[in-house]
């Protein structure tokens, strides 16, 4: 390896992303446990690791006894992954390919697809479409997917302090009325850690699908849910989290991003309500959420929310748009 600035520059790959994902202990060990506790599934099988990054999941699969593992990633970290695989003695089992799954050429179908495709809000910027493409093109008829399920959940939270810091500050900035920025702020969901104390309602199921059968077009969803106040409080925002069960093997493992346990690197997605709901304990609010990729920019998610609440302290019926970008 030469040490010129040019070489370094071409090979530049931000290690921080990979470190953040690997140091996300719950994320990484969920995959590890799902694979190792079901090692019998992997014995002598062909595995595809979609978006392999540093190759960690490919090595888990190889250690579980896979005959052949193909790790594919379009970023230049594939260069490092290839060396890592070699350094750990898996070069006869694991092949690392730098490129797109769409350009992949294999000489046999794959028995298992492992991939950590989940994004914020589960679907934002996720690699799920790539996984579905791989499933349909390269999977055997009974291909096993790790994970094979996905569920999104939503609950109401109170967040007075944040509201002040992020929204109300715009009312008066050095004597200017920046309330237009406040309005725009509501469009931006926030990715942050929600603490369990903030949760003010029950948790409702938002959207679920089976990765064995889901199609790309199914991922634009409309969901109706009801939230009941667990205490008398002001519901300032909706908090969305997800989990992905691994049920392909006999021992199930669930990777969860709930606010009830230590935060993962996905944290939670917070949608601030234009008109917070002052709810008394037991009162119910109805919501309808539509979520689809933005027409101009499919990497962005458009989220439309309809809120219906008739409580003792207030009645609110309104629509609000969000955009995750």
């Amino acid at each position: 390896m030469s040490g010129t600035g040019d070489y370094y520059f071409d090979s530049y790959s931000h290690y921080g992303i990979h470190m953040e994902m690997l140091k996300d202990y719950h994320r990484t060990t969920s995959y590890r446990d799902a694979i190792w506790r079901n090692a019998y599934l992997f014995k002598d099988k062909v595995v595809l690791d979609v978006g392999c990054g540093t190759g960690i999941l490919s090595m888990f699969a190889a250690k579980a006894g896979a005959r052949k593992v193909i790790g594919i990633d379009c970023s230049s970290v594939a260069v490092q992954a290839r060396q890592i695989v070699k350094d750990n003695g898996f070069e006869d089992v694991i092949t690392i390919i730098q490129g797109k799954v769409e350009d992949l050429q294999l000489d046999e179908k794959v028995d298992i697809i492992i991939s950590e495709w989940m994004g914020y809000f589960l679907l934002y910027e996720s690699m799920l479409n790539t996984v579905l493409y791989a499933r349909d093109k390269w999977g055997t008829p009974d291909v096993k997917l790790f994970p094979d399920g996905a569920n999104m959940y939503v609950c109401g939270i109170s967040d007075e302090q944040y509201k002040q810091e992020r929204f109300d500050v715009w009312d008066d900035v050095q004597g200017f009325d920046f309330s237009y920025f406040k309005r725009l702020s509501y469009i931006e969901p926030l990715i942050d850690t929600v603490s369990r104390e903030q949760i003010a309602t029950n948790t409702a199921s938002l959207f679920s699908f089976d990765i064995n059968t889901v199609r790309e077009e199914d991922l634009a969803f409309t969901s109706e849910f009801t939230l009941a106040a667990a205490r008398s409080d002001c519901v300032d925002a909706l908090c969305v989290h997800f989990d992905t069960p691994f049920t392909a093997g006999h021992e199930a493992v669930v990777l969860s991003t709930t606010p009830l346990t230590a935060p993962t690197h996905w944290r939670q997605t917070v949608l601030y309500l234009h008109n917070p709901l002052r709810m008394k304990r037991g009162e119910q609010a109805k919501f309808r959420m539509c979520c689809r990729p933005n027409a101009c920019n499919p990497r962005d998610l458009d989220i439309a929310l309809h809120v219906e609440f008739d409580g003792e302290l207030q009645s609110s019926h309104y629509d609000q748009d969000f955009r995750l970008r």
Binding site: Y12, Y15, M21, G53, E165, D168, G175, F181, D300, H317
Partner: protein, 417 residues
């Protein structure tokens, strides 16, 4: 996975005592007080939420435009140090014209407009300026116009072509690597009125020796054993990276050395090609929009190099210590020949809060030092691609032999986000 590249949500600044308790709970049913709200929704969706880049499905959305994220602009409200510095120039802006490059949310520009500047023109690459324009209008500011795009593209639409004051924070983490510098130089050579000023006009880089073995363990040694696997190749990636993060005061182990100063007035002229042979050109030679380069002086021709500097540095250890990182701080100064009262320094506070987050590089070999011993070395910075703020940084550093004679060298890559 791409979604990880998202900048983390901005950690909120100091607690803010709200001035007006504007918890307006009078609700508008169904948003139906109607037209205004929905009109604004359309504005929002068409300007701020649909940036130019989005006409291409492959665009990276806000990755290419992080400034358009409203939440990312919250900290500007709390940026009192910067505000106070600019106040000194703003209080004399009455009757003068102002060009603000990299105006962001436009707060400083609006203050200038409110201070009765004759004309304010504010430019930014980010779609946030579309929202700023709405705010300016809503606040009844007449004498201000915002432009979204690159300076050379939008310049023909400016209401005037010469400005008394050009505000631009053109300094990068390594002084000359920021993409705004091209615009600043272009503005200096083409848009500055006779006797006009560039603000800030000077910037220095300071070097400090840092002792942080834990960070090294956490970022480099971490890869020795990742869930039972060796990931040695990742160490090279970590070692070549310039880290951007705050350094706690407790880890600062030497005095501060001012290593290099750049002045906007003496940098070479803007149409110099500024590439040294890597990749794409970051400087559109401007021949196509009437920006005639006039008033070029011989001084500018032979000014400081835009793309490459090599400077020595030397610091003294403040205690018995082992330095394994060098940290760089950038300041900005303004010296106004017409109004010395408006001078300011946006200074640095190693270990405290700084205007720009400091950058650090890990030394391949740690340097053991006795208290008072000199740590010396050289810093070389080469701009690789200014549009991306990218620079190659080479460091040599050595002890004086108080504990042991050690000399170490490393090469690093810096680029924005």
């Amino acid at each position: 996975m791409p979604s990880r590249k998202n900048p983390p949500p901005y950690a909120s600044g100091p607690n803010h005592n709200k001035k007006n308790n504007n918890n307006n709970k009078n609700e508008k049913k169904n948003n139906a007080s109607g037209r205004n709200a929905s009109v604004e929704r359309i504005i929002a969706n068409e300007s701020l939420l649909a940036t130019e880049s989005e006409k291409h499905a492959t665009s990276k959305s806000l990755y290419g435009d992080p400034g358009a994220r409203i939440s990312g602009n919250v900290h500007n409200i709390y940026d009192r140090i910067r505000m106070r510095a600019y106040q000194s120039i703003l209080k004399n802006i009455k009757g003068k014209s102002l060009l603000h490059l990299g105006c962001g949310m436009g707060l400083i520009s609006m203050i200038a407009a409110r201070s009765l500047a004759s004309v304010v023109v504010a430019v930014d690459h980010s779609a946030i300026v579309d929202a700023a324009q709405v705010v300016a209008k809503q606040n009844g500011l007449q004498n201000i116009s915002f432009f979204h795009g690159s300076l050379r593209d939008v310049m023909p639409q400016f209401p005037l072509q010469k400005f008394d004051v050009i505000l631009c924070e053109w300094m990068g983490a390594f002084l000359v690597n920021d993409s705004l510098l091209d615009d600043a130089l272009f503005a200096r050579d083409n848009l500055l009125a006779e006797g006009g000023v560039m603000c800030p006009d000077g910037s220095s880089i300071h070097v400090v020796g840092v002792s942080d073995y834990a960070f090294h363990l956490d970022t480099v040694e971490y890869w020795s054993n990742v869930y039972g696997f060796k990931m040695e190749p990742m160490k090279a990636l970590v070692r070549q990276e310039v880290e951007t993060c705050s350094v706690p005061a407790a880890n600062i182990a030497t005095s501060t050395c001012l290593a290099h100063t750049v002045n906007i007035a003496t940098l070479k002229k803007s149409i110099e090609s500024d590439m040294n042979g890597t990749g794409s050109s970051s400087n559109n030679n401007n021949n196509n929009n009437g920006g005639e380069v006039e008033g070029e002086t011989a001084k500018k021709m032979s000014g400081q190099d835009l793309n490459d500097y090599t400077v020595p540095f030397s610091m003294r250890a403040s205690r018995d210590t082992t330095v394994n990182y060098l940290t760089f701080f950038v300041d900005a100064t303004f010296t106004n020949p017409n109004d010395p009262g408006a001078n300011f320094v946006l200074g640095i506070r190693p270990g405290g809060s700084n205007l720009w987050t400091e950058t650090s590089v890990g030394l391949p070999e740690p340097l053991p030092l006795r208290a008072g011993e000199t740590l010396s070395g050289e810093l070389r910075v080469r701009v690789v691609d200014r549009r991306r703020g990218a620079a190659a940084v080479d460091i040599t550093a050595r002890t004086d032999g108080g504990v042991a004679k050690v000399e170490t060298s490393g090469s690093y890559v810096y680029q924005h986000c």
